[in-house]
């Protein structure tokens, strides 16, 4: 089997493995990518991320729901853990440079959406500073300043916790109006996100993944040109 043929086959296994939640198959294929000296970044973007793109479409068509997204994410991470150490620094330098601060606001311990978005940022090559959940509001601004991150992503799953996000947006925008702020969570509407001064929003974990997938798709297209 030629190298290109092998590449295509392994990319397909990685992609299908994510779509079908097959962690073991993904691990095996990722290891073969490494062992055969194939491009790890290519495997992440055109194998794992391509699989997540299909998962996103299936979510959009109401075929997949959040449990399916979570299982696909586990499969993706199984491959990413093997491939990431082998991504060449120059690959990342050429493709994506970026940092993001992410977390769920104080009073909220729901982090499914946050973790899915974190995964998509990691796949795209961003450096992710994950503050975890139930994070005191001032921590977001402090971490953004410390890391000089371009993006801050916040989530709150409850109506009773989303007000904290407004404060965080204010704190960050006061100090650095150029930082892009993404909000996520079930209680959000576009009006509320606008009211809070956010640059983008997603109302559910799946919806957030869809937005992140669009971003990754653009990257893949650029990479493949």
């Amino acid at each position: 089997m030629g190298k290109e043929e092998l590449r295509e086959e392994l990319l397909q296994v990685l992609k299908d493995g994510v779509v079908n939640f097959e962690e073991d198959k993904v691990k095996e294929a990722a290891q073969r990518v490494v062992d055969e000296g194939l491009d790890a970044y290519d495997a992440v973007m055109n194998g794992l991320a391509a699989g997540m793109e299909v998962v996103g479409d299936l979510y959009d068509q109401h075929e997949y729901f959040v449990p399916e997204l979570l299982m696909a994410a586990d499969a993706l991470y199984a491959g990413l853990d093997i491939l990431r150490p082998h991504i060449k620094v120059e690959d990342l330098d050429q493709k994506v440079k970026g940092q993001v601060v992410i977390g769920t606001v104080q009073g909220d311990v729901h982090d499914i959406g946050k973790n899915l978005i974190k995964m998509m940022f990691e796949v795209a090559g961003f450096t992710v500073h994950d503050l975890g959940r139930d994070v005191p509001l001032e921590k977001f601004a402090e971490e953004q300043m410390r890391t000089d991150s371009e993006i801050v992503a916040l989530s709150a799953m409850m109506t009773t916790t989303m007000m904290g996000m407004k404060k965080v947006v204010q704190m960050i925008k006061e100090k650095n109006p150029d930082v892009k702020i993404m909000l996520g969570g079930a209680p959000l509407t576009s009006d509320v996100a606008k009211l809070f001064g956010a640059d983008g929003y997603a109302e559910s974990a799946g919806n957030a993944v869809q937005e992140a997938i669009k971003m990754i798709s653009q990257l893949r297209k650029l990479q493949n040109k």
Binding site: V66, P67, V109, H110, M158, T160, G164, V192, L195
Partner: protein
């Protein structure tokens, strides 16, 4: 109209007897900051004593003309009674509801003590209901709520673990849900014995933005049916978030009222479920009471009524830091615009 008490208005609505006008009430938290301040206490304190819990419920009701008072306010009372630690955020200046910082690693580890109603803050909730019964029980309705089995399970075991196990180790998840279903049946009966007039089952972790309709049907619906079959009326099923895809399944759970939030397409829902069941919803509990103009409030209330609800009520807990004039305007609009018969309830 003046002859009908608030309690009668609410109870008539649930038994689908004629009422004078639409009641202003909720099946979820509707405690307000003006009421908390009027009692000279802070937000965290409303969860920590029966007097504060009942007092703020009554004060909120009186200040804004609600037909009912509702307790408790937070979702951690049952998990706390099971032995999980709760963060109350006693020193926080902001409004922060209690949370469970650390949950059990898997469903089979969950411990349900026999005497859970006497543990943690459960006695506070029971006593708060008794206080409400004693002080307002003749004139106003007393509402309470309990998390549904899947949502409660998500307070005991991390939701992502639970969701994945629902695929991979379904029997373990089902065993926990069955245990919780029995507990919820008992707890609903207990709250009714304490004096609650209606119980709202909040199964908000099962909307179609989280679970598939297929999973709802196999994992959730049978247990909801069992609960509603065991509970006496009035009983409400509330699910927030995306409910358009599961509304028919919700209708087939045995509750006499379905409650949804503003992400539901109400007019379509009414067509799907028919006029033989109460539909409650679905104003935005944050925007309307704290941000909207008087005209926006009136338009939103009218839109709910035009879409076929039998009572206009919030789709979630009301954000406590309301503008008093907004809350009053919402309830005035509901009373004023709610004088005509609704699909399931006539007028006197």
């Amino acid at each position: 109209m003046n002859d009908m008490t608030s309690r009668q208005r609410v109870l008539n609505l649930f038994s689908r007897k004629p009422i004078d006008t639409m009641p202003c009430f909720s099946g979820q938290g509707m405690v307000t900051v003006p009421a908390i301040e009027a009692l000279g206490i802070r937000f965290p304190q409303i969860h920590l004593s029966a007097e504060n819990m009942a007092g703020t419920a009554i004060k909120s009701m009186e200040m804004f003309g609600f037909d009912s008072a509702v307790v408790p306010y937070d979702m951690c009372t049952v998990p706390e009674a099971f032995g999980l630690e709760v963060s109350i955020y006693e020193d926080a200046e902001d409004i922060l509801y209690p949370t469970i910082p650390k949950k059990w690693a898997s469903p089979e580890e969950v411990v349900i003590p026999e005497d859970y109603v006497r543990k943690g803050r459960m006695p506070i909730v029971s006593e708060a209901i008794e206080i409400l019964k004693e002080r307002i029980g003749d004139t106003h309705a007393i509402g309470t709520w309990i998390l549904g089995p899947f949502t409660l399970a998500g307070q005991l075991v991390e939701l992502d673990v639970l969701m994945k196990m629902a695929f991979k180790e379904k029997a373990k998840v089902e065993a926990l849900l069955d245990r919780l279903t029995n507990l919820i049946i008992d707890l609903g009966r207990h709250y009714r014995e304490m004096g609650a007039d209606y119980v709202n089952l909040r199964e908000m972790g099962t909307g179609a933005d989280l679970l598939s309709p297929r999973m709802f049907k196999t994992l959730v619906q049978p247990r909801l049916r069992k609960i509603f079959e065991a509970w006496s009326s009035p009983k409400i099923l509330h699910i927030c978030g995306s409910t358009d895809l599961i509304i028919e399944l919700m209708n087939d759970c045995g509750a006499e009222a379905i409650s949804v939030d503003h992400k539901n397409t109400l007019s379509e829902t009414r067509k799907k479920i028919g006029n033989d069941i109460l539909l409650l919803g679905d104003y935005d509990g944050f925007t309307l009471p704290s941000k909207a103009s008087t005209q926006e409030i009136r338009d939103a209330v009218k839109a709910c009524i035009d879409s076929g609800v039998d009572a206009v009520w919030p789709g979630c807990d009301i954000w406590p830091d309301i503008k008093p004039e907004n809350m009053t305007a919402i309830n005035e609009a509901i009373r004023d615009l709610g004088r005509s018969p609704t699909p399931a309830v006539g007028r006197t």
